[in-house]
């Protein structure tokens, strides 16, 4: 399992691995928002938490088809499926590698970009905590979507259509937690719901992902 994680991280960091792609997209979307909304610091401050969450979600979506498509094309998945490592574990590790290369940089970059959107000072802690709790769910659900569309050539768009509805609960509670803490309200309930969603999909999704991947490998 460690070998798979190390390999995925190494591949992501080497040329063509796509590390930083999601981060750059996140940066661009957040920078573009003030241009489209207009220079109104008070309005930006109110929508900042929601915009940051939506941008993080879309940035995460961007790199999903890399999780399995490349491994499918070069035959790695066939060999992994016959390896002693259970497919469920292999997919959990791949989701973890995706989170480390996409989710964690987003969590780290979010407070910096929040300055551009004039997020109220009180909201920074809540924003980082909600993203840290929510992005693992995005990676795990995304891995399921990637497993579902793995055999399809250029299935990226279909993958987005399938995965976005599944992202809705994470987005609702994540953005709500960030917004409440930005307004100085108690954000415990949405934060707990968010943690619950992440814990639930972490426990259950790998089984669904492995099941659909086995069907797609036939």
């Amino acid at each position: 399992m460690k070998a798979l994680l190390v390999r995925d991280l190494r591949l992501a960091l080497r040329a063509g691995g796509g590390f930083g792609l999601g981060l750059a997209f996140f940066l661009i979307v957040v920078v573009l928002v003030p241009f489209s909304v207009g220079p109104q610091p008070e309005l930006l401050g109110r929508i900042a938490a929601g915009v940051l969450w939506l941008a993080a979600l879309l940035a995460c979506l961007l790199s999903l088809d890399r999780i399995l498509a490349l491994d499918f094309e070069d035959g790695t998945l066939d060999v992994l499926a016959t390896a002693p490592l259970p497919l469920e574990a292999a997919l959990s590790v791949k989701a973890l590698a995706h989170w480390l290369t996409t989710g964690v940089p987003l969590v780290v970059a979010a407070p910096v970009l929040a300055v551009l959107l004039n997020l109220p000072v009180a909201g920074y802690g809540g924003l980082v905590l909600s993203l840290a709790l929510g992005t693992p769910a995005l990676s795990v659900i995304g891995t399921f979507g990637a497993a579902l569309t793995v055999g399809i050539k250029r299935g990226g768009l279909l993958l987005s259509l399938l995965v976005l509805p599944l992202y809705v609960p994470t987005l609702i509670f994540g953005a709500e937690a960030a917004r409440r803490s930005a307004e100085g309200l108690d954000a415990t309930t949405p934060m707990l719901m968010l943690a619950g969603i992440s814990a639930g999909v972490l426990a259950l999704m790998p089984f669904a992902s492995a099941a659909v991947l086995r069907v797609n490998l036939r």
């Binding site: 460690k2 070998a3 390999r7 040329a15 035959g75 390896a83 069907v215 036939r218």
Partner: protein, 206 residues
């Protein structure tokens, strides 16, 4: 322990291709599968490797003992030869990759990125992967594609050493490897498409 197929029928894309295949393979034995293109050799090998379910019949003695090498080699272009092999060795719980590299004359290429290798060199690396799995049954689908005569000899030598160590090999190939192996032509087991109903299709996206 023997690998046994009992009355095995296999399907590709919901269409039955081979029916009633029975064979058994004892340690130290190799079997060469022959048959024209599209006769179902790949489907049969994938079924034995557990990558797809059989239509009917059963495979015994294959669970967690198979090293499968298909048309794709499972290599990453941006990893070096040594990194590729070390990764697969770790996944299969093995350590030593030097011996495998030596067996396929890969030592001079050890630090080259796999993406910069020629087709034949990639194939050699893909076959060297079999040695680092430590699995007793090799299931090989057209292993000699793009190999030159020297590399084919290296490969035949590796198969012989594997058999001598009590391993088994099931090889679909069109060329003569010079192995002392039984040959099975799959043509008699082919399902004639006319007259036979299509199997139920449960492909996710056809």
């Amino acid at each position: 322990m023997e690998l046994t197929l009992v009355d095995l029928s296999v399907a590709r894309g919901g269409v039955p291709v081979l029916a009633g295949v029975s064979l058994s393979l004892a340690p130290g034995q190799a079997l060469v599968l022959r048959g024209p293109n599209g006769s179902g050799k790949t489907t049969l090998l994938r079924t034995i490797a557990g990558l797809q379910p059989a239509l009917s019949g059963q495979v015994t003695g294959a669970e967690d003992r198979i090293a499968y090498a298909g048309h794709a080699d499972g290599l990453k272009a941006m990893l070096s030869v040594r990194e590729n092999l070390t990764f697969w060795a770790a996944v299969f719980g093995m350590r030593d990759v030097e011996q495998a590299m030596q067996a396929f004359a890969l030592l001079p290429l050890a630090d080259r990125l796999a993406g910069t290798l020629s087709a034949g060199q990639k194939r050699r690396l893909g076959l060297a992967r079999l040695l680092v799995t430590g699995r007793p049954i090799w299931v090989l689908d057209e292993p000699t594609v793009s190999l030159d005569a020297d590399a084919v000899a290296l490969f035949a030598g590796a198969v012989r050493a594997h058999l001598a160590a009590g391993g088994m090999a099931l090889i679909a190939t069109h060329i003569d490897l010079g192995l002392d192996a039984a040959v099975l032509d799959v043509t008699p087991y082919r399902v004639a498409l006319n007259g036979v109903g299509f199997g139920s299709s449960d492909e996710a996206f056809l």
